[in-house]
Symmetry: C2
Subunit: 239 residues, 2 copies
């Protein structure tokens, strides 16, 4: 069903063909983690909720794949934090920008930034760097689902707390992020939202959750989970 | 470059959007194996060469992704064995069949089977089962690059020796195959061809290579290689 939806979004020009290949890479990791949120993913999702609650200007960054996969989940989380939504594309054209922002609006988003960029992400070339001062540029905590490594690293270099959703625990994005969530995007968004409810208003718990999180330890747990799943899968009948 | 070529083949209708997602899954495994032929892959590729040399009617099965990725490699191997080429599609339409066969012919293939199917692969429904008596149906050894699990299992059930090229060592295809090659297709084709040269004419070596190969032991080695690579990658700077 997800695959059909993505294929349809390619026809509408909102997802690129290379976006489909990228989605396939994610599917392979998701399969290796048993297509469920691992304990490591849940821990990262709780830390993400803590960072979002502790932020002054939290922003959720949306690209073509993310919008195609779960626009409602992105909008719900933005309202729950509350955080701003900004569309930011690797393959940026005015048509794709307008198409994706309109698509999110058609799904109920009240305000989507990105139409009128007035800033650039430092260290990135070309139109990929374009963003808004109100949103990405001025954010202190930023959630980037399915981000490319260059942009994730550039955002970290600008001093932002970066929460990534990327199924590959070894990607440059996962390595660079403050909180690397290795989980399927819809599950991740839902889990973060649940933890928002758990942590909201409890400043002590928020700070404890932030402080207790380690990128490298979390990714190590994810890798162990993948290896265990691979070894289990050797003899099972599962595809 | 490969990604651009696949995207172009989608525009021409020869590769399906879901074929791009499937390619992405393969890329993830290839990345986990260091984008090189592992020792386990080389062993399987040697066994594949032995089976092909020992065959009475060897056939190389070609689908949209395989044709898009490396038509020249497929044609070269077919000529080297020699083996027949047959196009066989999951999403079969007369236009895609004709398009792919013409594409292979434009790349120099002398004869490509599949235009006029007169048989069915037992145990498969719909048009996916269609094949030719001269080719797939009458084959004793069949090389299936990037095959789906159902068809690989059905071919094994018909008593054929199945050599698969599938980067996922846990897929139903890899589990069902006589020889599961977990390697990128172009590298696999090239390695098989090199082993053909090594083994040709040496009946004793051919039989020893066949007899010494174990599907489950080979896939176990592949999984160990992936786990080692994941653990190595945790601290490296590689993407």
């Amino acid at each position: 069903m997800t695959r059909e939806r993505l294929a349809e979004m390619v026809e509408r020009g909102l997802v690129t063909p290379t976006g489909l290949i990228s989605h396939g890479r994610g599917e392979a990791y998701d399969y290796l983690m048993g297509e469920r949120s691992t304990d490591a993913a849940l821990e990262a999702e709780k830390a993400a909720a803590a960072y979002l609650l502790n932020a002054d200007n939290p922003v959720i960054c949306v690209n073509g794949n993310a919008a195609a996969l779960d626009p409602e989940g992105l909008i719900r989380l933005a309202e729950a934090v509350p955080a701003k939504l900004e569309v930011n594309l690797f393959h940026r054209t005015p048509e794709r920008m307008e198409g994706l922002i309109s698509y999110l609006e058609s799904k109920g988003a009240r305000e989507v930034l990105g139409r009128d960029p007035d800033c650039r992400i430092q260290g990135l070339e070309h139109d990929r760097a374009l963003c808004t001062s109100e949103g990405i540029y001025g954010s202190d905590v930023i959630l980037v689902p399915i981000e490319d490594g260059d942009r994730a690293e550039a955002l970290v270099s600008m001093g932002k707390k970066v929460i990534s959703i990327d199924l590959n625990p070894l990607s440059r994005t996962s390595k660079a992020a403050t909180v690397p969530i290795c989980d399927e995007m819809s599950r991740a968004l839902e889990n973060i939202q649940r933890y928002l409810g758990e942590l909201r208003g409890d400043h002590e718990a928020i700070i404890k959750t932030l402080d207790g999180f380690s990128n490298s330890e979390n990714r190590r747990q994810t890798v162990e989970c993948i290896c265990a799943s691979l070894k289990d899968g050797l003899d099972g009948g599962d595809d």
